[in-house]
Every structure is written in structure tokens, then in C-alpha cells.
């Protein structure tokens, strides 16, 4: 098992804030919109540097999505910022018609995704957003794993033409990827090569997969760990190449097991190479109030849950 360490921990939303500032410096067409959550989205640095390119929309997310769509006409690259729940479910029809169907170059940037938003509870803990967004034709869906990767992804999507959903979160999580990494949309990142099981993970749970991989190595199981930061378009080649070697798969995500990364992997496997797969995901339920750590444990998203899933799936191998 390749050794991963971290010296610092930060929230991925701060990676977005840093990336937005950098994207704004690189391209004067980048503009930012926010629905009354500037501090939560870490947009302050961008606003300070480019006040004329920031638009406070107020608590009106539908208006924000369509204003962003309109701003692309004439060349702007709008980044919208609000919680994942209000970036997707609340405004699905606006995104569908005015952004996705109209092929507008809007970057929908969504913080506080999943259970780890914590104490606010299930009204705010969206676990269905990846599913909704990946079903829209032409939408790119990205869920980076740490601060550095979120920053790199934010800079990368400014250079990519087309609608993007960028998902990140509130909790402070280990920084273990390079600060000068090149983020290639749609290209999976090989975290650790192995031969016994393929672990496909997205978002900050990749760190849990690394922890699981270390324990599995002690148990004599050589796990391949792949970071699927881009859920759509999925790196099908990386998925198939890995399972051709390992013969089984575990998918890990802070999302409902219906409609998320696991389903995307399962579809690729079913069509191309039917392979045993286990899910580490929320089991079709809403969340609840609690600390992020308590919630990750209660809803089965810890390293131990990944190890259990690996043990189950290896037994199912032919």
C-alpha cells in the first residue's frame, strides 16, 4: 500500500474559494453569483479582488440559476454558489431548461453536500444531488476529495466549456493530494495499485478508503483504490481496466446508494463485464442532526464499513 500522509486539514469549500479567486485572476470573464451564503461558500476573497464581477442575488436560487444562464450570453463564465440542496433539488427545472438543455457555460458550485453538513439536519443534507445532476444530458459532475483537488477542479472547470456541477463540503478533512496537481476532467486518479479488489471512491471518503486500504494490507488484501473525482463523464476505461485485474468492486460515496457513483459503476460493469460489487453509501434514507463524525459512523461511511464491504465482495468472486 502506497503511503499517504497529511500535515494539514481543511474544508473542501475553502479549496473552492481559493480556486475561484485564481480562476478569476486567470480569466476576466469569470463572474460569481451567490444566494446569501458568501461566508459559507468562501467567496470573500473573490469579492474583495473583483467586486464588480460579483453578484449578490439574495435568497432566490431560481433567479440565480437563470441570471447565470443569461450572463453567459455575451461571454461571461458564471460560478453560482449556494448549498448543494439549493443548487440542485430546489432549482432542477431552471438548471434543466435554461442551463443544461440550453448548453450554457454555467458552473454550479455546491457546498455543504451530504450528511457532513452536520447539525442542520436532513432538510439541508442532500444525498440525491449527484443522481439528479448526472441524469441531465451534457452536465459534467465533479466531486473532489480534498482542499487541493477542489481548488484544482475549480480552476479546471473555468477552462472547460459547458455546464458543470461541482460538489464539495463543509467538514475539515485531510489534505493528501498535491498542491500543484493538474486536474483533468473525466480522468480517474489511481491512488493505489492493487490486485484483490477495486475500491472506487468519490469526495472526501477517498481518505477513508486509504485508511481502509492500509488495514486491508495488514490483513493480506491488496486493494486498488481509485479516486473518481469526475462522476460524469465517468472514466470507463479506468473502471474496466481495474476490475479486469481484481474481479470485484466496492463503490464509496457520501450519497444515496440510488443514483450515485455506485450506480454509474454498476451500469458500466453490467454492460461490459458483469462483476460483483458492493456499495458503501447511504441506504436510501434521509440524514439527521449530529456531528459529521457521528453521522459518517451511523450511516455506514467509515473505513470499517469499506473493509466490511471488501470482505463481502471478495467472497462473491468467482
Amino acid at each position: 500500500m502506497k503511503k499517504y500522509t497529511y500535515t494539514d486539514k481543511k474544508d473542501t469549500r475553502s479549496g473552492f474559494g481559493a480556486g475561484l479567486l485564481e480562476a478569476g485572476k486567470q480569466n476576466h470573464e469569470v463572474v460569481a453569483l451567490c444566494a446569501d451564503l458568501i461566508g459559507s461558500l468562501k467567496m470573500n476573497d473573490f469579492i474583495k479582488e473583483f467586486p464588480e464581477r460579483f453578484f449578490q442575488i439574495g435568497i432566490a436560487e431560481a433567479n440565480m440559476m437563470c441570471i447565470a444562464a443569461g450572463m453567459t450570453i455575451g461571454g461571461k463564465i458564471p460560478f453560482t454558489g449556494t448549498f448543494a440542496n439549493f443548487s440542485t433539488g430546489r432549482v432542477y427545472d431552471q438548471i434543466r431548461q435554461s442551463i443544461a438543455y440550453s448548453d450554457k457555460n454555467v458552473k454550479i458550485c455546491a457546498s455543504h453536500a451530504g450528511l457532513t453538513l452536520g447539525e442542520d439536519g436532513a432538510t439541508h443534507q442532500i444525498l440525491e444531488d449527484i443522481g439528479m445532476m448526472k441524469m441531465l444530458p451534457g452536465m459534467t459532475v465533479i466531486n473532489p476529495c480534498d482542499y487541493n483537488q477542489t481548488k484544482a477542479a475549480t480552476i479546471a472547470i473555468a477552462k472547460h466549456h459547458g455546464p458543470v456541477y461541482l460538489r464539495f463540503g463543509r467538514p475539515v478533512v485531510p489534505i493528501f493530494t498535491d498542491d500543484d496537481q493538474e486536474f483533468i476532467i473525466g480522468k480517474a486518479w489511481m491512488v493505489n495499485e492493487g490486485k484483490d479488489v477495486s475500491i472506487f471512491a468519490t469526495g472526501h471518503i477517498v481518505w477513508k478508503a486509504i485508511q481502509a486500504g492500509e488495514k486491508l494490507a495488514e490483513m493480506g488484501i491488496d486493494a486498488e483504490i481509485i479516486n473518481i473525482h469526475t462522476i460524469k463523464p465517468l472514466d470507463v476505461e479506468a473502471v474496466l481496466k481495474s476490475v479486469a485485474k481484481t474481479g470485484c468492486a466496492v463503490s464509496c460515496e457520501e450519497h444515496n446508494r440510488l443514483g450515485g457513483l455506485g450506480d454509474s459503476i454498476a451500469q458500466v460493469l453490467a454492460v461490459n463485464n458483469p462483476t460483483p460489487q458492493e456499495y458503501v453509501a447511504v441506504n436510501d434514507s434521509f440524514g439527521e442532526s449530529g456531528t459529521p463524525d457521528q453521522l459518517m459512523k451511523k450511516y455506514g461511511l467509515e473505513a470499517e464499513d469499506i473493509i466490511d464491504a471488501v470482505n463481502r465482495v471478495i467472497k462473491r468472486k468467482k
Binding site: V31, A62, N63, C66, I67, M71, G74, Q97, S102
Partner: protein, 281 residues
């Protein structure tokens, strides 16, 4: 009446012929609102807008128009075709398979003249505000226009946009509301009352104008007046009073023709009332 107004009226007559023929040709679509808004769209595209039918999607340096009530696509398509965005013959493919002339306007099939999809109501004012903000950022002095149905004002997003534009001094925007008092299920006052629209828009901080939407001379005058009021710190809204089905006597005065196509006999009756001024497609 001057010659220019007469020419616009003759163009409007041809557009009305196109509308009823398009809707008849596929036996679906929305003739009522299309006929009611014909004079407005003809005045806009043949007199008011600074626009280039060679069509560049980014619209830099051009006035832009967004149709928010996308179901009145027949009038939009006819006006686009008649002003040179595409061949009028393509109107015959309206709502048919493999056509660029989709049921509701879209950029998806690449039809020149369309810059955003519409159909799901309530979104176009926000889109127009976005385009207006970009024009301001670009130092582009041209204007942005949008059109809405009065029934569409029942969508909450309209009022989000209505609040945003005055607060942000979006004064390069001219919105028009087609006040015909009708929607699919009946008169707006029975379905969901709109109340005092003038007072509502004024209370939100807009510069409110009123217009007789089926009187070409008034349409041109009010639109020119609206243009002269841009750049003064307030967005402008025109309450445009129209008759659904205007120009075809048996389609006027009720919501019945909101989304119904005429049969062969009704088509002939309608065409008999409308001069073929530019030649049918």
C-alpha cells in the same frame, strides 16, 4: 396613418397567416397568444431592435430579445424567419420530427435567432436580467427585451426577478407583459387573480408603461418611449393589453384558442381575414 405603420401592419398580417398555417400544419401549438402578440413582435423585429439576422449567439453589440412564454413560439418563429434569420419555408416543419422549429424555442437544434430554451414558465426574466448584467460588464450599450404572459406572472420566480432588477438598477432591460386576461383553464381572474399589475410593478420599483398591444401605432410609440427611458436607473416594464387570438374573429375573446389548432374549414375562414402580404411559405 404613416406608411411605415401600414407596412408593419401588412407584415403582421402575413405573420398571422404563418401562425395559423403552422398550427394547422401539425394540428398542435398555441395560436391564441401568438396572434395577440403579433403586433408587438413585428414592431420589435422590424422597427425597434438593433439586430443582425446573420445571428451571433453572443449578441454583442445587438439588442437582445428573450421569449419567456415559449408556447407562443409560432409568432416568434414567423417573425424570425420573415426578418431573415432562416428561410420561411422551414416554418412548415414546425413541431415535426427532425425539425429545428421545435414545439417550444430552443438552442438545442441550432435555430438562428434563439439564445435560450423556454417553455417551462417564469425563467425568461431572470435570463434577460443576466444578459443585461453582462452587457453592462462589457460596456455594451445595446438593450435587452423580454416578453411574458400574464398567466406566467403566477410563477414565483418572476417576482424574484422583479425584486432583483430595480435593486441592482438593471436599466437596460425592457420587459413586456402580455395582459390578455386569459390562460389555459380560463380567465386569469377566475384561475388566480393578478390584482393591480400596475401598482404591483410600481411597488417593486419598475418604471411602468401601458400599451394597446393590438394597435400598431401605439405599440411603436410606447416601445420608442420605453427605449428613451432606459439608462435612468430603473428597469422598464410595459403592460401590453391584447386580445388573445387578435386578427382572427372567431379566435378572439376567450381562452378557447390558447392551445388548439384550427381544422381545414377554420383555417380557410382565418386566412380569408388576413392579407397575404409577403407570400405564404
Amino acid at each position: 396613418m404613416n406608411t411605415e405603420i401600414q407596412n408593419l401592419q401588412r407584415t403582421a398580417s402575413q405573420v398571422r397567416r404563418d401562425i395559423v398555417r403552422m398550427v394547422h400544419g401539425c394540428q398542435s401549438g398555441h395560436p391564441g397568444g401568438s396572434l395577440g402578440c403579433t403586433d408587438f413582435l413585428v414592431a420589435l423585429y422590424f422597427k425597434i431592435l438593433k439586430h443582425d439576422p446573420a445571428f451571433k449567439a453572443d449578441g454583442i453589440g445587438e439588442d437582445l430579445f428573450f421569449l419567456s412564454n415559449g408556447h407562443i413560439s409560432p409568432v416568434f418563429y414567423s417573425v424570425l424567419a420573415r426578418s431573415g434569420y432562416f428561410e420561411p419555408s422551414e416554418l412548415a416543419t414546425f413541431r415535426k420530427l427532425n425539425s429545428r422549429v421545435q414545439g417550444h424555442p430552443t438552442t438545442h437544434e441550432g435555430l438562428p435567432g434563439v439564445r435560450i430554451a423556454s417553455g417551462s414558465l417564469g425563467q425568461g426574466m431572470s435570463v434577460a436580467i443576466g444578459a443585461s448584467l453582462t452587457k453592462k460588464l462589457n460596456g455594451d450599450k445595446s438593450l435587452v427585451f423580454c416578453l411574458h404572459g400574464d398567466g406566467e406572472l403566477q410563477e414565483g420566480q418572476i417576482w424574484e426577478a422583479a425584486m432583483f432588477a430595480p435593486h441592482n438598477k438593471v436599466d437596460n432591460l425592457i420587459a413586456t407583459i402580455d395582459v390578455n386576461g386569459q390562460q389555459i383553464d380560463g380567465p386569469t381572474k377566475l384561475v388566480l387573480s393578478l390584482g393591480n399589475l400596475k401598482a404591483k410593478w410600481e411597488a417593486f420599483g419598475w418604471d411602468v408603461l401601458e400599451m394597446k398591444g393590438n394597435d400598431m401605432e401605439d405599440v411603436v410609440n410606447v416601445l420608442e418611449n420605453a427605449k428613451s427611458r432606459t439608462g435612468k436607473g430603473k428597469p422598464i416594464v410595459i403592460l401590453m393589453y391584447t386580445e388573445m387570438g387578435a386578427g382572427v374573429d372567431f379566435m378572439m375573446g376567450s381562452h378557447k384558442w390558447h392551445g388548439v389548432a384550427p381544422n381545414d374549414e377554420q383555417l380557410e375562414l382565418a386566412l380569408a381575414q388576413l392579407e397575404e402580404s409577403l407570400g405564404d411559405y
